[in-house]
Amino acid sequence: MNRRVRVLPLGLWLLGLGYVVCVAWVLTHGAPVLPGRKVTIRLAHWQIEKGPPDGIDAVIKRYEALHPDVRVEQMLVPGAVYRQWLRTTLAGGTAPDLIEYGIWLENVRDVPLRYFEPVTDWLMEPNPYNRGTPLQGVPWLKTFEDELLEQRVNSPEPGQYYCVTMSRGSQRLFGNLKLLREITGAERVPATLPEFFKLCERVRAYGRNRGRELMPLAGARDNTMFFSEIYLAGMLTKLTFAMDRDGMLAMDSRQLEAAYLENRWQWSRPEIRGALGVLAQLYAHMKPGYLQLGRDDAVQQFMRDEALFIFTGTFDSTSLRRLAPFPVGAFRLPQPTRDDPLIGPYLMGHFVDGDNSTGFEFYLNRASPHHTEAVDFLRFLTSYEGGRTFMAHSGWISSIRHVPVPPELASDLSPVDGYVASGSYSTLGTESSRLFWREFYRLTGPRGSVENFTTALDAAMPAAITADLRAEERNQRLTLAPRDVRIAAIGELVRAAPQDPAVRLRRERLESAQNQSEGLALHVECQLRTLAKP
């Protein structure tokens, strides 16, 4: 007993000594026991051109000053690898909390439903960061200039919003003002296509006379796609309206695809042949081989003074204006006229040449452990203050209402003064779009013709569209199982608090969204049963 009394204090001493050594080691060699900031939010996007990263950095700095506990990291992922990166990180569980995504990205259209979380409930409440601004008390959704139109049109799940947007933009014909003045004596671009084609001939003659390589239009596959989407949708407005059985005054891609399988239109129709003929005339003013080039190549061609115009989204405007060694102007697209021999008889009227919808969308990663903090940052990013800061540092127009647009950027916006009839005929779905562009050389190549192109499309399009509709049906179905779990859970929460109107409303919205998705999936399934082509 006496021996144990002597030994135990010694053991305690040794234990204490060991503890002190451990503490000293941790303090001198280890990482901080408590991190400086408790939560780190990561957001990733592919807008690595001039402007946006600076704009987001400025917003982050301000946010971190307001929230010392939160750190926000901006991840810039090049567009060339973005889809692969997206798929890999989401599948591996290493994706950031907030992720840029576009519904038009090919081969990743299943991603939102698999990996992203709707933000509808948050959007129905006012953005707290708008206190003291003209947007105080306004539901977050209503603070976006277009109230998230793109989400309303293309939501992965009808009735649900999956993202918020950062900026507002359009498509514009950007021109080298110095060169334009040299060639024409003015800084104007004709409003009609026949006049524009005459200008293109003058440009080519100007280049030839000076022995320099000068094309009217900078060309690349991407820019061709931008052109084709707007011109085909616009020139085929009358046809689209004629096929609009639902009376929605427009048709989305799925409706156009189903109409194709029902034989209500074919590529060989005269109005489509006419529209493709106009496109072929336009693309003849790009440097041969443009289909092999990317968007950056076209920008470089424009910057090197080798093309007078470049048609692109206003997402390129900051890069063009900041980097070009000459003044750059933004112009509206010339429109075809009723006396045009190819398309004139089929025209409905003036069509929109840019939709002004908001974009640069950030989605919430469902697997993020920091939903609350991530949404809070999104709120600040898209608040009045966040929007103003972003615009000032990025040169991109903010998506937020009442944020003043600087005069030098105003021409990037399109007036809503024309018909909007459909999604584009050239990018209906993944497979049909791939087919369209795979065969496009038959239209514009050395031995190309409208006839060659439409024959090839009509031969292979039924199978491509069938595949697209099957994917659409599958994607809609993907939402149903996870939503069942949520609906059941919210049902139990309603049972626990039957008088809580917020929970009841949440249940109604979720059930309604699922009913719509389910209706759409079964509707498409029904169409495929009767229309599918092998």
Binding site: M248, V485, A488, A489, L493, C526
Partner: protein, 300 residues
């Protein structure tokens, strides 16, 4: 002896056993240990987040399925049907989904569905959903049977009504019978009174309207369904805008320009950011031209 005593001890007894051991070797006052024990108990009470089923449901409602699963596993088993229901739903949410896990969930749901309360109704509904949506090989006919059975057993329950709405969707677009489109529409119309809840009736009427267009029924028939949707309202997203645009355009096609005008004006007023506003303005301009022509004695 000290180590052995610590291993044998557990919970609060562990603390007191340590106190006895230390008390035997070092003369610390017993009250100090009692104070320490009390303090530890207090800390435990304050900091321990005792999960309950509501927390599990909250996590599932927010798609935090893994957290919900861990939380449910930490709950002591109580043999209740509510707990069994939560187990089944967590299994349905588990990733990766396996057929075996879904079959296990179904077995639990069958047990929970034995009753006439809310939990039983939800279990019955989810069982039907397994056949319609979750199993690798879907079985719409079996799902339809289960929806009907639930509606028979608990006709006043929300889950039974939601099940009837789903039965309506299957009848419109998927079930082999009735084969004729008109018969499908009529069969689904017959479900509407039993569905009873306006929001669910609205959703089904919307699908009836879409099916009427798909089956090329007369415009007037589609309008009846869409007007029923409009009377309830409350739709979120583009579908609300589509509805008003459809009501306007189909009214125009049905030869009722005055109705169309009202809907188109409402479209412009309620949805100013919709990019089809120009299209609608043109429609209104055409209607105005016709009215003007008719006022001057011209034909329509």
């Amino acid at each position: 002896m000290f180590a052995g005593g610590a291993r044998r001890a557990c919970g609060k007894g562990k603390i007191f056993q340590h106190a006895r051991v230390f008390g035997a070797s070092t003369p610390l006052p017993r009250s100090a240990f009692l104070l320490l024990a009390g303090w530890l108990w207090l800390v435990r009470t304050v900091w321990a987040h005792e999960p309950d089923l509501t927390q599990v449901w909250k996590n599932l409602a927010d798609s935090q399925n893994t957290t919900a699963q861990a939380m449910l596993a930490s709950l002591p088993p109580d043999g209740s049907r509510a707990r069994l229901l939560a187990t089944a739903v967590v299994q349905m949410a588990h990733q990766p989904v396996t057929e075996e896990m879904l079959r296990s969930a179904e077995a639990d749901l069958v047990v929970v569905a034995q009753g006439d309360d809310e939990v039983a109704a939800l279990a019955g509904y989810l069982r039907a959903r397994l056949y319609q949506v979750h199993f690798q090989k879907t079985d719409y006919t079996r799902a339809a049977e289960l929806y009907r059975e639930l509606a028979r057993r608990q006709p006043q329950n929300h889950w039974a009504r939601l099940g009837l709405m789903k039965l309506g969707l299957l009848t419109l677009f998927a079930l082999p019978e009735p084969a004729e489109p008109v018969a499908r529409l009529r069969a689904v119309e017959a479900l509407l009174p039993a569905i009873a809840e306006p929001a669910l009736q609205r959703d089904l009427n919307l699908q009836l309207g879409r099916a009427a267009v798909l089956y090329e029924r007369p415009v007037e028939e589609t309008l009846v369904y869409l007007k029923a949707v409009d009377r309830v309202g409350g739709l979120v997203g583009l579908v609300a805008e589509d509805l008003v645009s459809q009501l306007g355009e189909l009214s125009l096609r049905a030869g009722r320009p005055a109705d169309a005008k009202v809907y188109f004006q409402r479209f412009l007023r309620d949805f100013p950011t919709n990019n089809r506003s120009f299209n609608v303005e043109q429609k209104l301009a055409r209607i105005a031209e016709r009215e003007h022509a008719a006022g001057q004695g011209g034909g329509p």
